[in-house]
């Protein structure tokens, strides 16, 4: 089932939260939605989930415009909120019965789906326990299970791994990959780069209510103005003439010197590294230590928004 955000706009009084956001997510695809705080990410998710009506644009689910309130199209959507929205006073099973009931499920079909959701999230043996007795990871898994009961074909996951241990995080990843493998459309927001790199087929970065980038991870790394970094340590700091020569090399984007440490940003490390070493050696500078780092999503995000993912 395809999810399309088409020129979404939302204002809160004089403040524009979302100015112009468009993207599409295809069946079986996990789309990462990233953005700094205040970028319009939460408002976008709210519009995608039918929680609020856009001031402009629309959300389409397989070509059908999504409304708010009792719109039956919302049955195709599942929302996993950032907050763990569980009823601590009731056992896990009653939580699931409640959320299933909201979508009109009752009787045998509801019981079957509860069993399946508990199985999927590895909580079958804790169904009679209260969520307040659960670990953070188990609560997160139950939170996800509650969103799956009505078998939505589109799942919106808003930072579903906040505060969970690595083991539970892996269990959540496995669940998400399984659901995507079943052909469900997923929109995933997170502050963890490694989650995006593991799960997301495509990444949309938004800031100031607009889409800054929409591509695969490889595509973003190739097209964004970011570089791989070469760091070299010398006994003596290279002089101004040497630095200028390095800057003039093809593929070198930026050169920074901090004491004896020289940092060279380049589009292609394989080509740039030997040339830099060769030119400096020719000028009498002997390299003592060399390290390199490939550009990653963090660099793309920093280049596009001016902030790091974890700062958001």
């Amino acid at each position: 089932m395809q999810l399309v955000a088409e020129r979404l706009q939302k204002n809160y009084g004089p403040i524009t939260a979302v100015a112009d956001v468009s993207f599409a997510a295809a069946p079986g695809e996990v789309l990462g939605l990233l953005g700094p705080n205040g970028a319009g990410k939460s408002t976008t998710i709210s519009m995608l989930a039918g929680l609020m009506r856009p001031d402009g644009g629309r959300v389409l689910i397989d070509g059908i415009s999504l409304g708010t309130g009792a719109d039956p199209t919302k049955r195709r959507l599942g929302l996993v909120t950032q907050e763990i929205a569980l009823i601590d006073e009731l056992p896990a099973r009653m939580n699931l019965e409640f959320f299933g009931g909201l979508y009109g499920l009752a009787g045998r079909p509801l019981a079957d789906r509860i069993a399946a959701a508990l199985e999927l999230t590895s909580l079958a043996d804790r169904a009679a326990d209260s969520p307040k007795e659960f670990s953070g990871g188990m609560r997160r898994r139950l939170n996800i299970a509650c969103a799956l009961l009505h078998e939505p074909q589109i799942l919106l996951l808003d930072e579903p791994t906040v505060g969970v241990d690595p083991q539970s995080r892996n269990a959540i990843f496995d669940t998400i990959e399984l659901l995507a493998g079943e052909g469900r459309t997923m929109v995933y927001t997170t502050h963890y780069m490694e989650e995006v790199e593991r799960l997301c087929d495509r990444v949309v970065i938004i800031d100031h209510g607009r889409v800054l980038a929409d591509d695969t991870l490889a595509g973003l790394l190739a097209s964004a103005p970011v570089a791989n970094t070469l760091t070299l340590k010398y006994d003596l700091s290279p002089d101004g003439a040497a630095l200028q020569e390095i800057r003039n090399l093809p593929g070198v984007i930026r050169v920074d010197l901090a004491g004896p440490e020289l940092s060279v940003a380049a589009t292609d490390l394989g080509t740039a590294a030997p040339r830099v070493l060769e030119r400096l050696a020719a000028r009498g500078f002997s390299c003592q230590e060399l390290t390199s780092r490939r550009a990653n999503l963090e660099d793309v995000f920093l280049a596009l928004t001016g902030r790091t993912l974890r700062d958001t």
């Binding site: 009731l90 909201l102 009752a106």
Partner: protein, 380 residues
Amino acid sequence: MSANLIAFRALVRKDVAIFLRDRRALVVSVLTPIVVAAFFGFLFGGAGGRDSVSRMPVGVTDLDDSALSKAVVESLVHDQSLATELLPEGRAHELVKTGKLRAAVVIPAGFGATVPGALLGRADKPSVKLFYDPSQSIVRSVFAGIITQHVMQEVTRPFSSGNGMSIPFTLASEAVSTGPRYNGYAHSFAGMSVQFILFMGIDAGVALLLMRETGMWRRLRAAPLSRAMLLGSRVAATTLIAMLILTVVYAVAIFVFGVRIAGSFAGFAMIALAFAVLAATTGLMIAAVGGSVAATRGVATFSILILVMLGGAWVPAFLFPEWLQSASKILPTRWAVDGFDAMTWRGLPLQTAFTPVAVLLAWSVLFALIAISRFDWEGD
């Protein structure tokens, strides 16, 4: 069953299940009104099973020790409306001061010698001291009247065939209500039920505010549920909980404290239902206009306390000044308390329940409209 009905049932069942599993809520909502109502009911006359009138504790000091003073003291001791204790003056003064006695009279020396002459205007009147508790000033007039009656009876005894002058009539007292017998618990249970169910209404409103903080509200709005469904289910759930509380509290009132629904049972049920709806819409309004949970709870509790106080839930409204009795008729709490009183100890018929029910429902509609108009639907 349609999907909407299943969703409605799920929403209502969730709220009721949370209430029943929350021991604190159960204690506050059910046990507390029973305990407080039992206490107030006891103070205001209990079940009214005694035919005798409670006696007023008074003291008497006889500094004269004459035949007349002794006769007056004896007469006071045998008065059925008094519990008379013969005491030295200082002790009598002390006991009145500490509230142990309502009043005390000191018969001065020479009383027996001068009173017969004073009665005929041939001697100066002796001064009889009367100590009284200023917190119960009406006692002064009552006790002065009783003393006068007994002194006159004893002074005139030699002139009237040995019986003395007495009140020339007998008083036949009758407690007037159409119910079987006044029960002090009936009013206190009405008042405390009203108070604590409104408190439960506050809790229901605050719970809705908490749902916004915990993300539950977002989850509910992500489901295909209309606004009418979301708010209507909360009104239904809170109404159901209020009816549960009323049922338990009045069951205890009836079976333990002897309260009787002497009027129309249907009328009682209608008033209970209308009041339950009022409590539910009060909660909804609180959720709509409230800010932070702590501030909302504080302001709402204060407002409810004022409402129940002026509604006659603590002390019967007929004890209010005349202007306040009239003014408080605008309050829904007054109609609720009076309505319950009417159907219990006053024993009034079904038609007298219609006006309280109409007023309670009118307030409920007003609260619901305020809630709907002020509710922030898109806020988290």
